[in-house]
C-alpha cells in the first residue's frame, strides 16, 4: 500500500493509505443491537496530491480504521446500535472542533483545542450519512473534517433500506465520498495568513480521498481491481454517493443508468432512472446499478468537468472507473 499522506504532528496511529471504492468495510457490526465506540483524534495531516505536493488538511483519524479514503473512516453500524464517537482535538491552531451527522446527530458541543468530547446516538434509520465538523462553518469541510457513516438494516438484508420498501437486494456495495480542496485556503491556514472562504474555488478534487489516476491504478501503473468499482454481469451494485465537499457533484455514469433509491434517506420515487446523479453539498444519494450484460471499463466522474482535473490538468480529480466482467 502506498502512503498518500502523513500526520503533521507525530501522533501515534498513522492514517494509512486507503483502498479506493472498495467494498464498504469498517468497524465490526453485530447481528444484534450493540454498543459501538469509535475514537477519533482530530489531526493536522499533510495530504499528498499530484504531483508530490503536500497540502495541510484536518482529518478525523482513527488509528485502527483502514477504511477507504483518507477522509473516509467508513463507519459501518447496524440499525439499532448505540454509537459513541469520542473526539480528541489535536489541532495546533485555535479551532474548537465538533462532529455532527445530520439525521442521527444534528447538534453537538465542540472540543476545545487540546480537549475532547463524546457523542452518543442510536442508529435509528438505515442508510448513508455524512459526518463532519460544523463548528467552524464551511471551514471544517474545506479543511477535510468529514467522513461517511453507513447504517445497515437490522434484518441483515443486503438492501439499502428495509426489504419492505426496496425489494432489490444488491450483490455488491461501494461507498464513494467526493470532496475537494481550494489549496489557497489550506496554504493560508498553514502559513497563518488570512483567507476568505467566500472566494472558495477548489483546484483539487477527490473520490475517496484520491485523484485519478490514483483512483484506478496501482503503484506499477496497472489497473488495480481493489480500487475500481468491480462488478460482474447480472449483478445489482449498490452505490452510496456521499458528498463531503462544499460543491455540487453531478456524477455521470458511462455505460449505465442507475436507479436512485434514496436521497438523504428519503425514498426517491419520481426521477429515478439517471445517468447523471446530482449530489448536492452534504447530500447522500443511494442508487442501484443493474449491470445487465454490459461488460467493459467505464468512467464515473463529476460532470463539473473542472473537477476532472488535478489543479487544472486533465484527466485527474473526481474520476473513477467501473470495471464490469462476465459473471459466472
Amino acid at each position: 500500500m502506498e502512503r498518500r499522506e502523513f500526520l503533521k504532528a507525530g501522533v501515534a496511529g498513522l492514517s494509512s493509505s486507503f483502498v479506493l471504492g472498495g467494498l464498504t468495510a469498517g468497524f465490526p457490526r453485530s447481528a444484534q443491537a450493540a454498543n459501538i465506540v469509535i475514537d477519533f483524534s482530530v489531526e493536522e495531516v499533510m495530504k499528498i496530491v499530484p504531483v508530490n505536493r503536500a497540502i495541510l488538511t484536518w482529518q478525523y483519524v482513527n488509528a485502527l480504521q483502514p477504511g477507504p479514503g483518507a477522509l473516509n473512516s467508513g463507519i459501518v453500524v447496524t440499525e439499532g446500535d448505540t454509537v459513541t464517537i469520542n473526539i480528541q482535538n489535536n489541532l495546533t491552531s485555535n479551532y474548537p472542533v465538533n462532529l455532527v451527522c445530520p439525521g442521527l446527530l444534528d447538534t453537538s458541543v465542540a472540543a476545545a483545542p487540546g480537549g475532547s468530547q463524546s457523542y452518543t446516538f442510536v442508529a435509528t434509520t438505515p442508510g448513508s450519512y455524512l459526518y463532519y465538523d460544523d463548528n467552524n462553518g464551511d471551514l471544517g469541510r474545506a479543511m477535510g473534517l468529514m467522513g461517511p457513516l453507513v447504517v445497515k438494516p437490522m434484518d441483515g438484508s443486503q438492501a439499502l433500506t428495509p426489504i419492505e420498501f426496496d425489494p432489490n437486494n444488491f450483490d455488491r456495495e461501494y461507498t464513494i465520498v467526493t470532496h475537494e480542496i481550494d489549496s489557497r485556503i489550506n496554504d493560508a491556514m498553514a502559513a497563518g495568513l488570512p483567507f476568505d472562504l467566500n472566494t472558495y474555488q477548489p483546484d483539487y478534487f477527490f473520490a475517496n480521498g484520491l485523484s485519478y489516476p490514483e483512483t484506478v491504478q496501482d503503484a506499477a501503473g496497472n489497473i488495480d481491481d481493489t480500487k475500481v468499482i468491480l462488478m460482474s454481469t447480472g449483478q445489482n451494485v449498490a452505490l452510496r454517493l456521499i458528498n463531503g465537499g462544499l460543491i455540487y457533484y453531478p456524477m455521470h455514469f458511462h455505460g449505465y443508468h442507475v436507479n436512485v433509491v434514496t436521497r438523504n434517506r428519503m425514498l426517491e420515487e419520481n426521477v429515478v432512472e439517471k445517468d447523471t446523479v446530482l449530489v448536492k453539498e452534504g447530500e447522500a444519494v443511494e442508487a442501484i446499478l443493474p449491470v445487465g450484460d454490459q461488460v467493459g471499463l467505464y468512467p464515473l466522474h463529476t460532470h463539473y468537468i473542472p473537477g476532472v482535473t488535478t489543479s487544472g490538468f486533465y484527466a485527474g480529480g473526481s474520476l473513477l472507473m467501473m470495471k464490469s466482467v462476465l459473471g459466472v
Binding site: 439525521g103 434509520t125 442508510g127 433500506t161 428495509p162 420498501f165 472558495y200 474555488q201 477548489p202 483546484d203 483539487y204 489516476p213 484506478v216 491504478q217 506499477a220 501503473g221 460543491i247 455540487y248 453531478p250 455521470h252 458511462h254 455505460g255 449505465y256 443508468h257 434514496t262 436521497r263 438523504n264 434517506r265 428519503m266 425514498l267 426517491e268 420515487e269 419520481n270 426521477v271 429515478v272 432512472e273 439517471k274 445517468d275 447523471t276 446530482l278 448536492k280 453539498e281 447530500e283 454490459q294 467493459g296 471499463l297 467505464y298 468512467p299 460532470h303 463539473y304 468537468i305 473542472p306 473537477g307 476532472v308 482535473t309 489543479s311 487544472g312 490538468f313 486533465y314 484527466a315
Partner: protein
C-alpha cells in the same frame, strides 16, 4: 413500523378506494424514511389513530405529505399549490391535465392532433406542412388554432450521420456574442458546415442528432486533431463510448502521446479496439436504448474541448418515429423546443489556447441558451417560445455546461415528463415552477401555453457551490 401506525394504516386502508391505497402506502414508506421517531409527526394530527372511527388524513396533512413526496431537495423544485393537480390522476402516458389542454385524448375527436381531420395533423390537406397542400397560408387557416410547426429546430439523422470537428485548425471558428465580441470556439458541424439548427454562424452547440429507438445509428466523426464523440447517456459499449483511454477514436496513432500517463495508456491500449488516423472518419455505432434526450461531447481533454463548444444534443425518437410525443405512449404535445444550457469563460476564448493549470478555476462570463446570449436569445426562434393559447409545449432542457442551472418559465407551471432519457416514475401535473438542471443532466418538461401575454423565462446559472447566481439567460414565452 410501530404497532400503532400499522393499526392506523388498517383504518385508512379500509376506508379508501383501491386506487388511493397505493398512495397511502407510498406516503407511509416516505414517513419511514424520516426515521421511526418521526412517524408520529408525519401522521400529524391523527395522533389517536386507534379509534376505529378515525377519519382519513385531512387536507393539511395531505399537503404535508405532498411536500415529502416531491422531495424538493433533489431537483431544487419550488412547489406550486398542490391542489392544482391530483397526483393520482395520471401517470406517464396518461391523459394530459384537464382544463388546460385543447387536446382530446380520444383519437376520433377532431381536436386530437392524431386525428387526420385535425388541421394540426400533418396528413390533413389543410395543414401547410402537408405537401398536398398547395399554398394554404397559416393566416387563412379556418380553425381557431392555426397550424404550427411541431419542431422548432433542425436535426441530422436518423441513420448515417457525418460530423466534422472544427477546432484550432480552423481560424474561422468564431461565435458572435450579443456584445459584438467574436469569441474563438471549437465545435462539431454537419458535413455542410452547419452546426445547431443548420446555422453557419453559430458553431456551438453542434447539430442536434436524431436517432430512432431500437434502430442502428452510425455517426462518422472526421477530425484533423484528436477528438471523440462521447454518447452521453446512451449506455453504449466500451468501443463506442468515446473515451480516448478506453475506446477507439481518431488519434495520432501514437500510443504514448496525449494526456494519459504512458504506463496507464499501455493498459488501455490493450482494451481499445481500434483507432484511426487523423483525417479519417471514426464510426460510432449504437442502438438507441430508449426514446429521450441525450448529449454528445468530445472527451479528449474534456475540460477544454467541451467548454470550447464541442458538444450537442441527441434526440432519440420513439420506435414508430412519431414526433409529437417523447416516448411510446407518452403525452402528446403540439410544439417542441430544445434549450441547451451552457456558458463561456471569455478568457478561454481569446488569445492563446487555454490549458493546464488555467482550467481548474472556471469563471464564466457569457450565459447562453442554444449558443445565444443576452438579447440575442429573444430573437432566436429556437429559444423564444411562441405558440397558441392552450397548446402543449415540450422543452428538452440539456445542460451542456459546467454550472448548475435553475430554470423557471416566468411562473408558468410545468410537468417533468422525463430525465436522462427515461420517463419519470411518478407524474405530477403542473406542479413545478422552477427546477435545477445539473451539468450533464437532461429534463424534458411540458406546459400549457397561457391564455395570452408574454412571460420572461430565466435560466439562472449558479456557481458550483449552488449558492450564488453567476449570470442569467432570459428567454420569452409568447402566446400568439
Amino acid at each position: 413500523m410501530s404497532k400503532i401506525s400499522r393499526d392506523f394504516l388498517k383504518v385508512i386502508l379500509a376506508e379508501k378506494p383501491e386506487s388511493a391505497v397505493k398512495e397511502i402506502i407510498d406516503e407511509r414508506k416516505r414517513a419511514y424514511t424520516f426515521g421511526l421517531g418521526s412517524i408520529a409527526a408525519t401522521l400529524g394530527a391523527c395522533a389517536a389513530p386507534v379509534d376505529p372511527n378515525a377519519v382519513p388524513p385531512d387536507e393539511p396533512e395531505r399537503a404535508h405529505n405532498y411536500e415529502q413526496r416531491v422531495n424538493s431537495e433533489n431537483v431544487g423544485i419550488t412547489l406550486d399549490d398542490p391542489e392544482d393537480g391530483d397526483p393520482t390522476a395520471g401517470l406517464p402516458g396518461g391523459a394530459p391535465p384537464t382544463g388546460t389542454t385543447p387536446v382530446n385524448p380520444n383519437p376520433t375527436d377532431p381536436t386530437n392532433p392524431t386525428n387526420p381531420t385535425n388541421p394540426t395533423n400533418p396528413t390533413n390537406p389543410t395543414n401547410p406542412t402537408n405537401p398536398t397542400n398547395p399554398t394554404e397560408p397559416v393566416t387563412t387557416n379556418p380553425t381557431p388554432t392555426p397550424a404550427i410547426a411541431t419542431q422548432t429546430f433542425t436535426a441530422l439523422g436518423p441513420g448515417l450521420i457525418n460530423i466534422d470537428a472544427s477546432d484550432m485548425m480552423d481560424p474561422n471558428s468564431v461565435q458572435q456574442m450579443s456584445d459584438g465580441n467574436a469569441l474563438t470556439v471549437w465545435g462539431f458541424t454537419s458535413s455542410s458546415g452547419g452546426a445547431f439548427n443548420g446555422d453557419l454562424n453559430r458553431l456551438c452547440p453542434g447539430p442536434v442528432i436524431e436517432a430512432t429507438e431500437g434502430e442502428l445509428t452510425t455517426i462518422a466523426l472526421r477530425s484533423q486533431l484528436p477528438h471523440t464523440l462521447h454518447l452521453h447517456g446512451l449506455d453504449v459499449d466500451q468501443a463506442n463510448d468515446g473515451v480516448p483511454s478506453t475506446s477507439g477514436y481518431v488519434s495520432q496513432m501514437n500510443p504514448g502521446a496525449g494526456f494519459i500517463p504512458p504506463n496507464l495508456q499501455l493498459i488501455f491500449d490493450r482494451l481499445a479496439p481500434s483507432a484511426v488516423a487523423l483525417g479519417n472518419p471514426f464510426e460510432y455505432k449504437f442502438l438507441a436504448p430508449h426514446a429521450g434526450t441525450y448529449m454528445y461531447h468530445c472527451h479528449v481533454d474534456t475540460v477544454i474541448h467541451m467548454e470550447m463548444g464541442m458538444s450537442g444534443s441527441i434526440i432519440v425518437r420513439p420506435p414508430d418515429g412519431s414526433r409529437n410525443t417523447l416516448y411510446t405512449n407518452g403525452p402528446i404535445f403540439d410544439r417542441e423546443y430544445i434549450w441547451q444550457l451552457h456558458t463561456f469563460d471569455s478568457a478561454w476564448h481569446t488569445g492563446p489556447a487555454v490549458s493546464g493549470s488555467n482550467t481548474s478555476r472556471y469563471n464564466p462570463d457569457y450565459f447562453m441558451l442554444n449558443g445565444r446570449d443576452g438579447l440575442d436569445i429573444l430573437s432566436d426562434p429556437t429559444a423564444a417560445v411562441e405558440a397558441y393559447a392552450g397548446q402543449q409545449i415540450v422543452i428538452r432542457l440539456v445542460n451542456l455546461g459546467y454550472q448548475p442551472a435553475v430554470v423557471n418559465l416566468g411562473g408558468i407551471p410545468f410537468d417533468i415528463l422525463a430525465s436522462d432519457g427515461r420517463p419519470v416514475k411518478k407524474y405530477f401535473f403542473s406542479l413545478f415552477t422552477e427546477m435545477t438542471v445539473g451539468p450533464g443532466e437532461r429534463y424534458d418538461i411540458m406546459f400549457s401555453m397561457p391564455a395570452s401575454g408574454v412571460s420572461n423565462a430565466s435560466i439562472n446559472y449558479l456557481d458550483i457551490m449552488g449558492r450564488n447566481v453567476l449570470g442569467t439567460a432570459v428567454s420569452s414565452i409568447t402566446t400568439l
